[in-house]
Amino acid sequence: MKLGTVLSVIACLATIASAQDVQTIPVQGNVYLITGAGGNITVQIGDQGVLVVDTGLAGTSDKVLAAIRKLSPKPIQYVLNTHVHADHTGGNDAIRKAGATFTGANVTGNLVDIANGAQLFAQDNVMQRMSAPSGKQPPVPTANWPTETYVSGRKPMFFNNEPVIMIHQPHAHTDGDSLVFFRRSDVLVTGDIFVTTSYPFIDLERGGSIQGEIDALNTILELAIPGRQDEAGTYIIPGHGRICDAPELLEFRDMVTIVRDRVQASIKKGMTLAQVKAAGLTKDYDARYSAKSGIGTNDMFVEAVYKSVSQKK
């Protein structure tokens, strides 16, 4: 999907989001879900303060901050981005500025603005996608950029008496996807690698790929342990849609894998993209997953899979 189309879809989402109220739902342990602000927003609270995963669309931040303040009066210390898209990072500036970074000694003394606002973490490719070489206009305003990035595959931290781990999933939905795993609360945030509202959006222009998407879904399945009688246990917060557990992610993983296999088999038969699209290879899943328009339609998903599988060759 072209950048312009993505932007227009996000603008549409922004209009919808601004018209609806945000809703807060307890997930498990210290973790809460805020919906209605674009992409899902996850909030972890505790004695030390507040940690926020993704910030929704620009223009929804007042409502999001009000929802966070109902959960905790303590300072927002960390903001984490699961990936680059504006429906998950649009509120970066406003949410980050509402927080604070605690520093000490000569750090605070020498760098007077260091304590202003929360720290904002993302995988390094998010920064690469948001910024531009010197002298060129960056695609995203600098105020929305991460303040810290990681490149080592994972970024662990310990906050509110809980291990929190960002785990990079290369070339999945994009090339800068992070899972965020709250290990004590047993909640896993997936960003748009997993959504319950449509087919996954494989953003080929930003480094996504179907194999990376499937690999990431399998990683999530390995991390998420269902409870007794195959229910609950690790809760999974998708990028869009509702709270799930491992058996529900499993169905999504199966669907993505099966569609990939079908498209791959069609390519082996020499079928063109148009022929594959016309073959109705996703008819069994369309009623459940195909968006009516924009991001996440069957047509868009099949095209992304076709191009991604073809690129692999």
Binding site: Q229, D230, A232, R242, E248, D254, A287, R288
Partner: protein, 296 residues
């Protein structure tokens, strides 16, 4: 009778009557009947499907969409061997079909004794189900879905009617036919002395072209029901590459004709659809080509 009793007796009687009629914990008969007890299933209906299990590619009499049929034809029973699939629980819209002991009891407010919920323990898969009777709303859309869903009930005369949302994807028939997580379920529990009929109406516009109505029978067991435990520990049964999902590519299901040929019915009938429910379909079949051994 003492003088005081003569004077205050009528007042005491009136006061007691008022308390009984109106006071908390007083005699306010609730609607409905008592479903409490241990119930066991009667299998004379659909026994073959409910016991050993349905044949592959037997979708007869089910009002499925083309998409649901395609899903089922792609489904390979070997998917049960994938560790993550091994412990999957039968969804509430299907679980009463299986062999099970069903225990039902009331959950009442300890002070007022008002009915808060009707609870069920289904020993197959160790499921405890709550049917809320206190008028609470269903959870928001973003709340988790479960095997038993979120149920609220009301008495319609002596029939307990239950409405369930927040279901996971689950079986329509356990040979690959699935309903979606958008499914809603209406049930009626109807007791006639020691016999109970359970009617379920599954509505899912994504996989069913019309509601799917089924019924199951139960009998009251005086003897305490056998309590089956259902511990499930997934294991690797077949070594596969990471993330492999057993399935058939479109048009390649090797069992497409097996059931139809065995019972000498046309494959088109075996593939189901709302039309195959109704008697008129028999007339249509007699006009079509008789089934015989089919070439794969």
């Amino acid at each position: 009778m003492s003088s005081a009793a003569k004077h205050f007796g009528p007042l005491l009687f009136l006061g007691s009557a008022l308390l009984l009629a109106q006071g908390p914990g007083g005699y306010n008969p609730e609607p409905g009947v008592d479903l409490s007890g241990n119930w066991g299933p009667v299998f004379h209906e659909d026994a073959h499907e409910r016991g050993p299990g349905p044949e592959l590619v037997n979708y007869l009499g089910l009002p499925i969409t083309d998409g649901a049929r395609m899903y089922a034809l792609a489904w390979d029973a070997s998917r049960f061997t994938v560790p993550e699939h091994q412990c999957e629980v039968h969804i509430v819209s299907y679980i009463y079909r299986g062999p099970l002991n069903l225990k039902i009891w009331d959950e009442r407010d300890p002070v007022s004794q008002k009915l808060v919920a009707i609870k069920q323990y289904i020993d197959n898969y160790e499921q405890t189900r709550t049917i809320w009777m206190d008028g609470r709303p269903h959870p928001p859309d973003a709340a988790p879905h479960t095997w038993m869903g979120f149920s609220t009930g009301k008495w319609e005369g002596n029939i307990l009617t239950v409405y369930t949302t927040h279901l996971k994807q689950g079986w329509i028939r356990r040979n690959g036919l699935r309903h979606s997580d958008q499914t809603t379920l209406v049930e009626h529990f109807i007791r006639h002395a020691d016999h109970m009929i359970h009617v379920s109406i599954v509505t899912d516009p994504l996989t069913l072209t019309e509601p799917l109505v089924k019924s199951q029978d139960f009998v009251l067991r005086v003897q305490t029901g056998q309590v089956w435990l259902y511990p499930c520990e997934p294991v690797v049964e077949i070594e596969r590459p990471r993330g492999a999902v057993p399935h058939y590519l479109p048009g390649e299901n090797p069992f497409l004709h097996e059931f139809a040929d065995h019972y000498k019915i046309p494959v088109e009938a075996a593939l189901g659809g709302a039309e195959t429910i109704y008697p008129e379909y028999q007339t249509k079949l007699t006009k079509s080509t008789p089934a015989g051994p089919s070439a794969k």
